[in-house]
């Protein structure tokens, strides 16, 4: 028999029934089922069941995040090197990035699982796999220079207020990771947006200062020229070699993740495609408004797509099935409106430079309403059977 299995079998008695650590049964169970997928016999019809379970479902989101995560670590090292005046590339940049990103991820998982285990133990239910995803999504939305205590506060808010207060996994209105980020965004704006590297590190120059969305044009200059002046060419924005939150910079990596999620049907393509359509259409409409050449109104679809966190948000945050609508037409509308609101907030509202987070959270509120309308329509099409 597998030695690991033996270990679990021999220690099970301490964590169950009247064992010494029976309060930690959810923790033991989560650890055990992480290694060994349980497969009890079915009790009700149908007697055969699909091989897909929620653990695998969630693991596939983690897998899809790998390109974003690895690139994020590398880019963090790269940007840190530029900011500190000691540019580095390759393995060195990756290792430098790791020193920034790894502590954030570790703190997120540690604090997140503390809350999850606490609530699971009190409520006596199993630990949900959702936290594995939340715990990786949350760090990727943060700037790498964020103080670790803020990370802990943010994930606590996300998990406790954003999820557990509503009743735990499956019942939350908002995406927990985004809720945590929104809390940090409004509570500690200095560390969350704008001068990412300057805030935490020695002040070097303006080159790697603000994120692309904070760029404003000079008198008579177009927004794209202003962006190019600040080092944000379209190709750089697309590939992601720009400062910003850890996971959001590379549109390419997000697209790879989106393709994987759509191919495996873990994420619903309607939300992603709808979001892209909303973003492109809205930015095109704004593009043709005359006299706006100096602002983000004039940036056009490609810049809106590649700058900021929209692609990350629509791929990984908006497709969170719990906080998104549950019916297909509603998913199209949900995605489209996220795209629309993202561009609108970016271009029209001067208070917030980034719109994706707010757009998704706002639409999370409307998801049940969209579902309600779709269900009403569906009922009206059905031949009543009562």
């Amino acid at each position: 028999m597998n030695p690991l299995k033996k270990l679990f079998d021999s220690t099970q008695k301490y964590f169950s029934g009247s064992g010494k650590f029976n309060a930690l049964a959810p923790l033991f169970d989560a650890t055990k089922t992480f290694f060994f997928l349980p497969s009890p016999r079915t009790r009700h019809i149908p007697f055969v069941r699909d091989s897909l379970d929620l653990k695998r479902f969630m693991s596939f989101v983690i897998l899809s995040l790998m390109p974003v995560l690895l690139f994020g670590i590398y880019n963090t090292g790269l940007q840190a090197g530029i900011a500190t005046g000691k540019p580095c590339t390759g393995v060195e940049a990756f290792l430098t990035g790791l020193t920034y990103v790894l502590p954030i991820i570790i703190v997120t998982y540690a604090v997140g699982f503390f809350w999850e285990i606490l609530f699971a133990s009190i409520r006596g239910h199993k630990i949900s796999e959702g936290l594995l995803v939340t715990g990786l999504l949350f760090p990727l939305t943060l700037p790498p220079t964020i103080p670790l205590w803020q990370v802990a506060v943010g994930i606590s808010f996300g998990v406790v207020i954003g999820k557990e207060l509503f009743g735990g996994t499956g019942r939350n209105v908002f995406n927990p990771a985004l809720t945590g980020r929104a809390f940090l965004f409004f509570s500690y704006p200095l560390t969350m947006s704008g001068d990412v590297w300057i805030a935490g590190k020695t002040l070097v120059d303006g080159v790697s200062g603000a994120t692309a969305l904070a760029v404003t044009a000079q008198e008579g200059q177009t927004i794209t020229a202003a962006l190019a002046d600040s080092g944000f060419t379209l190709s750089k924005l697309f590939l992601g070699f720009v400062p910003g939150s850890i996971g959001e910079t590379s549109t390419l990596c997000c697209l790879i993740g989106a393709a994987f999620l759509i191919l495996t049907r873990v994420a619903n393509f309607r939300i992603i495609i709808g979001g892209l359509a909303g973003l492109i259409l809205t930015s095109l409409v704004f593009y043709f408004i005359p006299g706006t050449s100096g602002s983000w109104l004039n940036a056009g679809p490609l810049y809106h797509l590649c700058a900021g966190g929209f692609m990350f948000g629509i791929t990984f945050m908006a497709t969170d099935p719990v906080s998104a609508p549950g019916t297909d037409p509603a998913r199209w509308v949900f995605g489209f409106l996220i795209g629309f609101l993202t561009v609108t907030i970016r271009a029209v509202n001067p208070a917030f430079v980034e719109g994706a987070m707010l757009a998704i959270l706002f639409m999370n509120v409307f998801a049940p309403l969209l579902d309600h309308m779709v269900m009403k329509y569906k009922v009206s099409k059905r031949i009543p059977n009562v």
């Binding site: 497969s39 016999r41 079915t42 055969v48 695998r56 199993k126 269900m375 569906k378």
Partner: protein, 442 residues
């Protein structure tokens, strides 16, 4: 022949398709009449243990309508009356003894059948124990004889993907089947006869009777799905359905005046190709199943049958035994293995891209979790329901919402539970909701 289209349903290829050859089994030592496959019935037992019975002797009737009788499929003595929980009758076992003697019922001649009164027809079928062949939607309860249904749906195929092939069931029965169809025309203005696409090529003699063909996707041939696809008005909600095999039984019964007992069964195992079996109605499971590994689960339909044990007998509506292996092995890192041979309706296993014929086991492959609204249930539901929404309405006792979402259109095919990654017992919960509503209406 019209084609019914179905975009949803269960598409993966299954292993273990039964062989088309047919073998005859000799009469068993015991036969049983099971109540477990008859929903909503409240049986009133008419015999005592050790009573002698003939083929056609009534064993029990339905308290709700005592004229509807259930009769013995063999001659012998009542050896056991088995009760289950709360003294609910499970089955009546008859030990075969002596020569087969049949009770002689009235017969109808093919020349006058079109003029026979509907009441006479119903009385004959009720006495002969064949009225329960007609099931009435939406509950699939025994048909109400006072109602003229807007439609009667005849299904050529059984409940399981590997139920007996209609060609094997109807072999030498074409006269009875055609007689049965004439009977149906006495009962309803519209008769729909549906068949799986793949069954058609061996149904040459019957093709002119078949009105609709359905794709080879489980559960397209379920009469509930056919009704959902065809219905255009509210009054069609209470249509009736009957299986082709039962229709032939009715034809035989009315032509000969004796209770027909010949039934066709299939036994399926994932790595085996067993022939079709002809045996007496109510044959013991043990006799049909043969030998197999101890820990397997035996069901009368992998998606929507019931689990049976070896000592029980086949029910009146049951024609298939699935022997499903039990594989409770806890797999190391099971959540991330590529899964070339793992059956799945999702796209998270390589098997779904390679289209391999996959073997099924009777295990859950995970643990129950909260509903995350992923929509897999709605994506597979053949009657376009949103099972997760209905489940939430049922659990919060909001029966009005559940009904308006189409709860009663549910044909209990089991696919929502099948696909659910959170392993929620959706079909069970929906079915409970339907049953609770049925009790409420009584």
């Amino acid at each position: 022949m019209e084609e019914i289209k179905l975009a949803k349903g269960f598409k993966p290829a299954l292993a273990g398709k039964p062989d088309q050859s047919v073998i005859h089994l000799p009469d068993p030592e015991t036969v049983g009449v099971s109540v477990m496959d008859m929903p909503y019935i409240r049986p009133k037992i008419l015999v005592k243990e050790n009573d002698p019975v003939k083929t056609g002797t009534p064993l029990f009737c339905d308290k709700r309508n005592q004229r509807i009788q259930y009769v013995s499929p063999a001659t012998g003595i009542v050896s056991q009356i088995i009760f289950g929980e709360r003294r609910h009758l499970k089955e009546i076992v008859i030990r075969l003894k002596g020569k087969n003697e049949c009770i002689q019922f009235e017969t109808l001649s093919p020349d006058t059948v079109d003029k026979v009164q509907k009441a006479t027809l119903i009385r004959l079928l009720q006495e002969g124990g064949l009225w329960p062949c007609f099931r009435q939607f939406p509950f699939k309860d025994t048909a109400d004889p006072d109602l003229e249904p807007a439609m009667i749906i005849v299904s050529m195929n059984g409940n399981d993907p590997f139920s007996p092939h209609p060609a094997a069931v109807l072999e030498h029965e074409s006269r009875a089947f055609e007689f049965g169809i004439r009977i149906l025309h006495q009962l309803s203005p519209r008769i729909v006869i549906s068949s799986r696409q793949s069954s058609l090529d061996r149904l040459n003699g019957f093709k002119n009777h078949i009105t609709h063909n359905v794709p080879d996707v489980y559960p397209a041939w379920d009469p509930g799905v056919v009704l959902y696809k065809l219905k255009t008005a509210i009054k069609e909600n209470s249509s009736w359905c009957i299986s082709a095999e039962h229709l032939a039984l009715i034809g035989n019964f009315l032509l000969t005046g004796t209770y027909p007992v010949k039934r066709v069964f299939t036994v399926t195992r994932s790595n085996d190709q067993k022939p079709h079996i002809i045996a007496r109605q109510g044959s013991p499971v043990k006799l049909l199943a043969g030998s197999f590994p101890d820990k397997s689960l035996i069901t009368t339909g992998r998606f929507n049958g019931r689990p049976v044990d070896l000592d029980s007998h086949m029910g009146f509506f049951e024609t298939t035994l699935n022997i499903i292996p039990d594989n409770p092995k806890e797999e190391l890192f099971g959540f991330i293995t590529p899964g070339i041979s793992k059956p799945s309706a999702s796209r998270t296993f390589l098997s779904s891209f390679l289209k391999t014929r996959t073997q099924q086991d009777c295990n859950l492959h995970g643990e129950e979790r909260a509903c995350v609204n992923c929509g897999y249930c709605a994506k597979i539901c053949p009657v376009d329901l949103d099972p997760s929404f209905i489940m939430k309405a049922v659990l919060s006792d909001d029966i009005e919402d559940a009904l308006s979402f189409g709860l009663l259109d549910c044909c209990r095919c089991g696919l929502c539970s099948y696909a659910c990654p959170s392993k929620i017992e959706l079909t069970h919960l929906l079915s409970n909701g339907i049953n609770a509503y049925y009790k409420d209406k009584q």
